[in-house]
């Protein structure tokens, strides 16, 4: 091979990262502005998540642990909003809480985006116990006795004065546990402290990178189902017939993946070609 060809192969292996970033910006922004509407397939696990919530009756109590910090929230934002909308539409009562200090602000943003129906009254239909420090000890304490773990709600009202909390004392009064976020550690702690001792029915929302790590819990039936990342969120938005930000981002996601795959192929072909030339 000529020196010119060799330098081309070498150049392929040393593409300026700014070129890759520039192309990535183009392929992500273009479909956001001009969506193509690629089909989105609903996977059985997301269907199972939806079906589990469908089994709830109005008035059932859901414990919703919101564990996303500001950094990892965006990828599953659509999923979280869609699930909250579904819960509010079902008429279930929700106890929100978190063991992540950042999650307090993020939950408020998520609830604002989901839109709490005007007929759902705070204290009666939903409550927010706020940030409960202590990580796994807090999770165990909440399962055993929520009134001891959180004596006041996020707004400073003693929990015994909240009508909903008069009926909810421990995991035994909860119909379903939903954990949104928390990386790999917090869901594992919920499995240890809510599923193992009490066999709580447990659904999980997480970002894509966390999904494979939590999958063994789904396989073993400890977590009933998961909605993973923007893709899971898009499927859920379609299931509740309210397409939102997750569906809107799916075309961009697809194009981004194609570009990443393309660069992986280019890098590998160039590497193999240069190896061959050296021989």
């Amino acid at each position: 091979m000529s020196g010119k060809e060799q330098s081309f192969v070498d150049r392929l292996q040393r593409i300026d990262p700014r070129v890759i970033y520039g192309l990535l910006i183009v392929v992500l922004v273009a479909p956001l502005l001009r969506p193509l509407g690629f089909p989105i397939e609903i996977t059985p696990v997301v269907q199972k998540f939806h079906a589990t919530i469908e089994t709830l009756k109005p008035g059932d109590v859901v414990f919703y642990a919101f564990e996303f910090g500001a950094g990892d929230y965006p990828e599953a934002e659509g999923a979280g909003i869609a699930v909250k909308r579904h819960l509010f539409a079902k008429g279930v009562r929700i106890v929100f809480a978190t063991t992540n200090d950042q999650a307090v602000l993020v939950l408020q943003k998520s609830l604002q985006s989901a839109g709490i129906p005007s007929d759902r009254k705070y204290g009666v239909d939903w409550v927010f116990l706020g940030y409960i420090p202590g990580a796994e000890t807090a999770i165990a304490a909440l399962a055993a006795d929520m009134h001891t773990a959180a004596k006041k709600d996020h707004y400073g009202t003693p929990v015994e004065q909240l009508p909903l909390m008069k009926e909810v004392r421990s995991v035994k009064d909860i119909e379903l546990l939903i954990v949104e976020g928390g990386g790999t550690e917090t869901p594992t702690q919920f499995v240890r402290q809510w599923y193992a001792p009490y066999k709580a029915r447990y659904l999980q929302i997480c970002i894509s990178v966390v999904g494979p790590t939590l999958q063994p819990f789904v396989g073993a039936g400890q977590i009933i189902a998961m909605v993973v990342g923007a893709s899971g969120g898009a499927q859920y938005e379609l299931l509740i017939r309210r397409p939102g930000i997750a569906v809107a981002g799916m075309d961009a996601q697809a194009f981004g993946h194609v570009l990443v795959i393309l660069f992986i192929v280019i890098g590998n072909v160039a590497y193999l070609a240069s190896k061959r030339m050296r021989k």
Binding site: L28, A76, A140, A220, G229, S231, G256, H257
Partner: protein, 211 residues
Amino acid sequence: MAQDLVATVGIWVAALYTLFTFSYIYKENPLYRFAEHTFVGAAAGHFVVIAFQNILSKGWYPIVSKGEYVYILSMILGLMLFSRFVKKRAWISHYPIALLVGVGTALAMRGAIQAEFLTQIASTIAPLYTPNQKTFDSFVIALTVISALVYFLFTIEAKGPLKVPITYLSKIGRYLLMIGFGAQFGATVMTRLGFVISRFQFLLFEWLGLR
């Protein structure tokens, strides 16, 4: 009116911080560092405020207003942690740390054996030939578990009659592990793209109003 102004200022601040952060793509620069440092500072500041509020609401107020003196013990244990800053008295901090580690481990072990050990093993040992769609999954799980374990088998030398099965299983294990790492990498790419798309959605639709 005032609320709208606050929201508008918030959107502009968020947009500028996003652009400052993205400027790193070109090269490291003062705007990126400004965004990075203020983010770290804000996060640390937020955590300190929350921690201080917790000390007040869960320790101090119950002691002074409700006479729940048991929390004095927690306060003392907390203060003992600060002895780490004095080299000669650092040993004092070992006691609260030992308590934290002990309680944490005991609590985790309570559910870990059942949730992460027994149940996981039980779900791995699934029948290979069941007339449903999980048959293939069960086979892949069994093959991956056995071959990956063989790959990490360092105490038995691959020689004699064991040489061929160990060598082949080890190789299969390596490839299956690589497929697993590949899937994990794919999930990482998906997450990172999700983050970027979310930021672009914010910039295009909330900041620039291009809907």
